[in-house]
């Protein structure tokens, strides 16, 4: 089975018997009892304290020794320890070093037991060496300082949970700890990552997370396992589809849920959902719409009064979810279609990109209301989602043309309007959507063609981003290998050391390129998104 790193850390400090039991239990996929979980937590706290009591400086010195050795390790090991900042202890640092070596080399996602034993032995040697060097070194503000004793009270730079930092070993370690506590396997990265995006995860579709779960998994509800698989294989794709699938899966979870004795539904159910959410996040990073849906559900659950009977509470929750789907997705689509039809006049030539369920709905509605227009569908590799949009529109009887994104500047002089869908609308007015959208908006602006973005308000997000690098999603790089004629010259790309394949999923469009945003609240300019967010927060 895949390794949970932390389990090996405690090996030499605690008696191995209890740990063995717990590790065995995990490997069997049984859920840890509450007592075992508490014991785990206590042990870890003790480990932390004992490490801090040890003299910092000798271990710092040992870390410094390790540094030139690890200098050979590849780029992802960026200098992450600025002076005067809390950093994890020196001991786990060597562990990510060999870990980061393996992904950059060949495609070995899992580490063998032998390698782990070797790491553990190396760490033990390091500890023994550091004990020998006690009192040797004067106080140095070394950059590789391990966990400072709490008395120093260094200000900790708290990272928001949404920021993925795959090249930062401390953050990875925290993530691994969290997943181990929730008993979810850690999915490892695949293939060489382009250095600009090395802070993001890159997974292979051939290694879904569900392969690492025991059968049957009692930790994660089967509806969620199925959903996770559907996400990671791309069977359920598209912002609205993913949110609706998520809400339906949560409904199933709620239906099958029973409150354990001495527990309150409002608190226990929320805690039950947390590992599911981590699991889904590992399968495929959560979208902004899913994040908002989850926030809503958590709020609804915690607002359930404690004297409410279980059946009634469950019924209420199921009702809430149905209302949410109905209001925020179905009715919103109807409202948006109503506003958009005002903007579609007879004789229009409308350009759409990729497959947005909302834009397709709008065009079908407008066609039913007897507006005379024709559509140009723009598509791009490797997803080729435009074909799905094309199929749906042609089935309705709409006059369509199909081009690839490389032909956009050729076709734009014919176009009178551009309709785009959005994955999320950020708080500074930027539009996050499928990669290629900002390209189309840019070219449309150059040709003075109005760009309209259609987006429901539940996709509005408090995040702020000005570029597509900081937060994005990397898809499986193997998708780029096959070409139209079926030749695969890139098949052995991993063996070429200087070659990297980049398969981005999202990009960010600045508000100057967008003329109008159509939401269920009406037509607003792109710069008014924060106002809507503010109004919504006041309502809630």
């Amino acid at each position: 089975t895949d390794v949970i790193i932390e389990s090996s850390v405690g090996y030499f400090t605690e008696g191995p018997e209890r740990k063995d039991d717990i590790v065995k239990a995990k490997q069997e996929g049984k859920e840890l009892t509450k007592e075992e979980k508490q014991r785990l937590r206590k042990e870890k706290k003790q480990q932390k304290k004992s490490k801090e009591k040890k003299d910092d400086k000798p271990s710092r010195d040992s870390e410094k020794e390790k540094k030139p050795a690890s200098a050979a390790s590849p780029a992802p090991q960026t200098p992450t320890q600025p002076p005067a900042q809390k950093a994890p202890s020196a001991a786990p640092a060597p562990v990510p070093v060999p870990a980061s070596e393996t992904p950059s080399a060949a495609d070995k996602p899992a580490k063998s037991k032998a390698e782990l034993k070797a790491e553990r032995r190396a760490r033990q040697e390091a500890e023994r060496a550091s004990k020998g060097k006690k009192g040797d070194v004067g106080p140095q503000a070394a950059p590789g300082k391990p966990k400072a004793p709490p008395s120093e009270l260094q200000p900790v730079v708290k990272r928001l949970p949404e920021h993925v930092q795959v090249d930062n070993p401390e953050v990875l370690k925290k993530l691994a700890k969290k997943l181990e506590r929730q008993q979810i396997p850690l999915r490892s990265d695949y293939g060489y990552k382009v250095s600009l995006f090395s802070h993001l995860h890159q997974y292979s579709r051939k290694a879904p997370l569900t392969q690492q779960l025991g059968i049957p998994s009692t930790v994660i509800h089967p509806a969620i396992v199925r959903l996770g698989l559907q996400y990671s294989q791309g069977i359920v794709a598209g912002s609205n589809a993913r949110s609706v699938a998520l809400l339906h899966a949560f409904k199933q979870v709620i239906r099958d849920y029973t409150t354990p004795p001495n527990e309150e539904l409002s608190r226990d159910l929320v805690n039950r959902l947390k590992p599911y959410i981590s699991f889904l996040n590992q399968c495929r990073p959560l979208s902004a719409s899913m994040g908002n849906a989850i926030k809503y559900i958590k709020k609804e659950i915690s607002n359930i009064p404690s004297q409410c009977k279980e059946e009634e509470a469950k019924r209420k929750l199921l009702n809430c979810i149905d209302c949410y789907i109905n209001e925020k997705i179905v009715l919103a689509a109807k409202a948006i279609a109503k506003y958009s039809i005002e903007k579609i006049s007879d004789g229009d030539v409308i350009l759409v990109y990729g497959c947005s369920s909302l834009v397709n709905h709008i065009l079908c509605e407008a066609f039913e209301k007897n507006r005379k227009f024709r559509v140009i569908v723009v598509d791009s590799r490797p997803r080729l989602e435009g074909r799905e949009a094309l199929r749906r529109l042609v089935q309705k009887g709409i006059n369509c043309t199909y081009v690839l994104i490389s032909a956009v500047s050729y076709i734009l002089p014919e176009v009178s309007k551009v309709f785009l869908g959005a994955h999320a609308l950020l708080a500074n007015g930027y539009v996050m959507s499928r990669v290629g959208t900002s390209q189309i908006a840019l070219v449309a602006k150059a040709f003075n063609v109005p760009v309209l973005v259609c987006c429901e308000t539940y996709k509005f997000c408090e995040r702020v981003q000005t570029d597509s690098f900081v937060s994005n999603e990397l898809d499986d790089p193997d998708d780029l290998i096959v070409t139209r004629t079926g030749t695969t010259q890139l098949e052995h790309w991993q063996e070429v050391p200087s070659l990297g394949l980049l398969n981005l999923v999202y990009d960010v469009t600045p508000p100057d390129f967008v003329d109008l945003v159509i939401t269920d609240l009406g037509m607003i300019p792109c710069t008014s998104v924060p106002v809507v967010l503010r109004v919504k927060n006041v309502d809630q």
Partner: protein, 302 residues
């Protein structure tokens, strides 16, 4: 209260005070209509108010009348949610209507107070056609003992610019009338451009007399600031994407719409200036950037 009486009252209001904005006259008319209305239900009242607004836009097709009417209706409808009893509701509506009228009659003064500081001593100003708000601003600036000179475009087809020039000469402001085609020629001498607006749209752009868009494009090319002065009741819930997206009922004069069959022969009287060309808007709600207009509209209407 039937249509002819309504229209007569409106015309009388316009004649009585030529300095009053057409939207204000419309709102006064609607208030009078409200007072004389003999309806029994609130819904019926709303319906008849809407009908009255339509009549008035049939008389004067400017954007301002339509926006003023809609704003009044909105202002009134909020009252209907609070009081169930019709007669009490009507009384509250009338009071609020009077209050609203008082507020907006002060709006031009507020705008003038905000804008005149942007006119520096020795400035050369370019303006378009005849706008009473711009006139008020320039009056205030002249009263503050500022020395400036003004270029006014002739603004065909109705030569309204000449009227503006006359009014400015009475204030002893040196004024030159230029051809509409000479805007690009004159812009290098000018320090700033101030225009009024018939309507301010949701995107932050403006609808104004034909020729404004040209002026805005030229001033952007010359990097001169383009200021718009407008009262807040001119904010309208329109969102045009380009020139042809503006509804026909605003583009032509009311009589033209009624009499002419083929509109493609007629020349539109207004055009749309997109927000990217506007530097600042001076309103009685304050000095706004074009993106802030939508925020204000959301506050007003949502």
């Amino acid at each position: 209260l039937d249509k002819i009486v309504l229209v007569e009252y409106f015309r009388a209001q316009m004649r009585k005070d030529p300095d009053m904005a057409s939207a204000v006259a419309a709102i006064r008319t609607l208030l009078e209509f409200l007072k004389r209305d003999k309806g029994e239900t609130i819904l019926g009242l709303r319906e008849s108010l809407k009908w009255a607004t339509d009549c008035l836009t049939g008389e004067d097709s400017s954007v301002a009348v339509s926006s003023g009417g809609e704003l009044f209706l909105r202002f009134i409808s909020l009252t209907s949610l609070e009081h169930q009893d019709l007669s009490r509701c009507k009384k509250v509506m009338e009071e609020r209507g009077e209050l609203f009228l008082e507020k907006i009659s002060m709006s031009r003064t507020k705008v003038a107070k905000l804008c005149h500081t942007f006119i520096k001593d020795g400035a050369k100003i370019l303006t378009h056609s005849y706008s009473r708000v711009v006139l008020r601003v320039l009056e205030k600036a002249a009263a503050e003992k500022k020395r400036f000179s003004v270029y006014v475009t002739e603004s065909q087809p109705d030569s309204a610019g000449r009227q503006m020039a006359e009014a400015l000469r009475k204030l002893n402001v040196p004024v030159t009338v230029v051809l509409d085609a000479a805007v690009g020629y004159v812009l290098e001498k000018v320090d700033l451009v101030i225009v009024g607006a018939e309507g301010v749209v949701e995107s932050g752009g403006i609808i104004n007399k034909i020729g404004t868009y040209q002026m805005a494009v030229c001033s952007k090319a010359h990097n001169k600031p383009f200021y718009v002065v407008a009262e807040s009741f001119k904010f309208v819930r329109l969102y045009p994407l380009n020139q042809q997206d503006v509804p026909d009922k605003f583009k032509y004069k009311a009589d033209t719409l009624k009499t002419v069959q083929n509109l493609s022969e007629e020349h539109p009287m207004i055009d749309y200036t997109p927000p990217s060309l506007i530097t600042l808007l001076f309103t009685d709600l304050g000095v706004l950037t074009p993106s802030a207009v939508s925020d204000e509209l959301i506050k007003l209407y949502l």
